[in-house]
Amino acid sequence: MTTEDSLPASSAKHPAAPAFIAITAWAVPGLGHLLLRRWARALGFLLATAGLAVVGFALRGEVFSIHSADPFGMLGFIADLGSGIFYFVARVFDAAGADVSRAAGDYGTRFIAAAGIVNILGVIDAYGIARGRRV
């Protein structure tokens, strides 16, 4: 069984990387871990974020914009933005627009927000590895 314990310390190999790793991990889910050679984690975060985002779009969940009028809309925007590239290509997947009149559409909104939160978790994890604080 493969472990990541035997991998070289990432911080030694990426001296200027932590901020770069964090940005890449945010922009493309899993890419930060990929650059750190954490293959399994990269795949896991990519699958989780992509799965949540795409299912959310397919369920016609709402993607919040920065111009949301209420505070909850702004929180939704921050959560959605966390999914990086998926936020920006949302319109491609979400051509029909949001439909929160059905329960499924409301679930979709939660899935899209969860995709962003999960990716932020991935960013924190990748940043910690790049700083040498995590294995």
């Binding site: 069984m1 472990t3 399994a40 896991g44 975060f45 369920l59 679930y107 899935f111 994890d125």
Partner: protein, 63 residues
Amino acid sequence: MFVSGLRVSHFGAMMLFALLVSVAFACSGNRTLAMRIKYALLCFLLFLAIGVGIAWLMYPFSR
């Protein structure tokens, strides 16, 4: 079974959500593949158990 086109049942949506979030949780902070699989399974089962438990608690107020 749970997904029909773009329609998902309540339970199907909960299972899908639990599965995907459990994978992400397991990938964060666990060193070995075995630890990750165990943690993902634990998270998934807890998601389902707590979700069903809350549903039962809310049942008296549903009508």
